[in-house]
Symmetry: D2
Subunit: 143 residues, 4 copies
């Protein structure tokens, strides 16, 4: 168990500033980072929707990847070149057209490798819409 090194707001602000074309601080907000965890909120709009009013799969995959990225950076500090090496997602039910909440829990946080699982659910609903396992490669860094 490791404590977070950056707060949710520090990290959101830094991600928004350094990746201005990304979604942080706009459609993605970091709600919390805790011991080996991170929680993101994604504001769904009509561009993400598929026929039937459901959120597109790639949106969920991008969100899961983002939740893992945030969890890793929150715990190792600002090492933006950490990269996804693999991702496995199971889609469990159709998300509604409302905000999505992604909760990442780090399963392993080593010097070079991190593994986490991410559950995504519609805001206000307990059941997951998708479950994801993500692995990251962490480059050598001075922290």
């Amino acid at each position: 168990m490791k404590a977070a090194k950056m707060t949710a707001s520090e990290l959101e602000e830094r991600l928004a500033r350094e990746f201005p074309q990304g979604s942080y601080g706009k459609r993605i907000h970091i709600e919390a980072v805790g011991q080996m965890t991170a929680r993101l909120r994604y504001t769904v709009n009509e561009r993400n929707l598929r026929p039937g009013g459901t959120v597109a799969g790639p949106t969920l995959m991008g969100l899961a990847d983002g939740a893992m990225y945030v969890a890793v950076l929150a715990h190792i500090g600002w090492v933006p070149h950490a990269v996804t090496t693999s991702l496995t997602i199971n889609f469990l039910k159709k998300p509604k057209a409302i905000d999505l909440i992604a909760e990442c829990k780090l399963i392993k946080l080593g010097k070079r490798l991190a593994v986490g699982d991410v559950g995504i659910r519609s805001d206000g609903d307990d059941e997951l819409v998708a479950h994801c396992v993500v692995t990251y490669s962490i480059p050598p860094h001075g922290h």
Copy 2:
């Protein structure tokens, strides 16, 4: 082995028409569909790029999912509510900032379940930047 029921251009035109907010006919072009295969081209622009000039992971995941969707529809006909049930991706090397080519091969095409693998590479390069296995659930349909 099943032969395709829709050609590449029929399918691209239909996807572009029915999902006008999507990327088909714009940044995604269906180059070919063959026996249990489909090939897509994705035009990379700066919105997809990550620091270092590489293509973002979610772009690759969305493209892999799209290649599988196209391969499935090409072979079962127009059943747009076919949905992704799982996706596993391994990122193999950093893509350059040039067009991506995604090639899907259907491993299994059953009545209700399809499984395919997708290799993604930068145009003009033989080595894969990512490899993906995707499963789809196919709803009952009249074809």
Copy 3:
């Protein structure tokens, strides 16, 4: 959340009786079943070991699959023809040559599909040696 329908000892006894060539009641013991969970203990012996005194990967995969099978049957009742449809495992560190503990948590338990995650660790150690996501197909049944 669903409560278990069969206790750990009922299930172990039944699995041992109906699959006499299997490992239940011998090297695999069901320690507990709870709300959407199951915990198994695997007694490692030298036949499972790889060079360096570590447990072979297929042993871990079989154990993860078994933990999910037990969790599913505990919650839906005796439906032995439930079958694995997919499994993704990440190996996190080398297990020692001591008992393994596998803990399964059901992420989704639908009528036809179950998804669970399984963490495996060496007895007495907190860190996982492997993490697994398993999906099962549940045949129609009268329970």
Copy 4:
């Protein structure tokens, strides 16, 4: 594309000699190694069978892992401490109670990381019973 450094018979003999408690040279035979490929035959006996006369999932997972191990060693030479880091398997149809053929194709063979896919089918049948993606970590070695 890399050519194999060890032949099928050299590798089978060495695996049988160094891992006498394993299955090489007994129930697993290496039929061929080619450019970035390997093919294994597994002799099914009743110990592998599940109710209904089908082969147990862990047998298929172990075989897929073995096919990848053989493919990697055939191409990098004798580096037995190469280890599985992840494995994703999709079970596609029930195998019959006859020999299984596993064909591995290396997707990437880097200095430290190898990724391969493995298709498993019943001998004499074209359709896959399982499809697998396996990643291996390769330790530093002198070859």
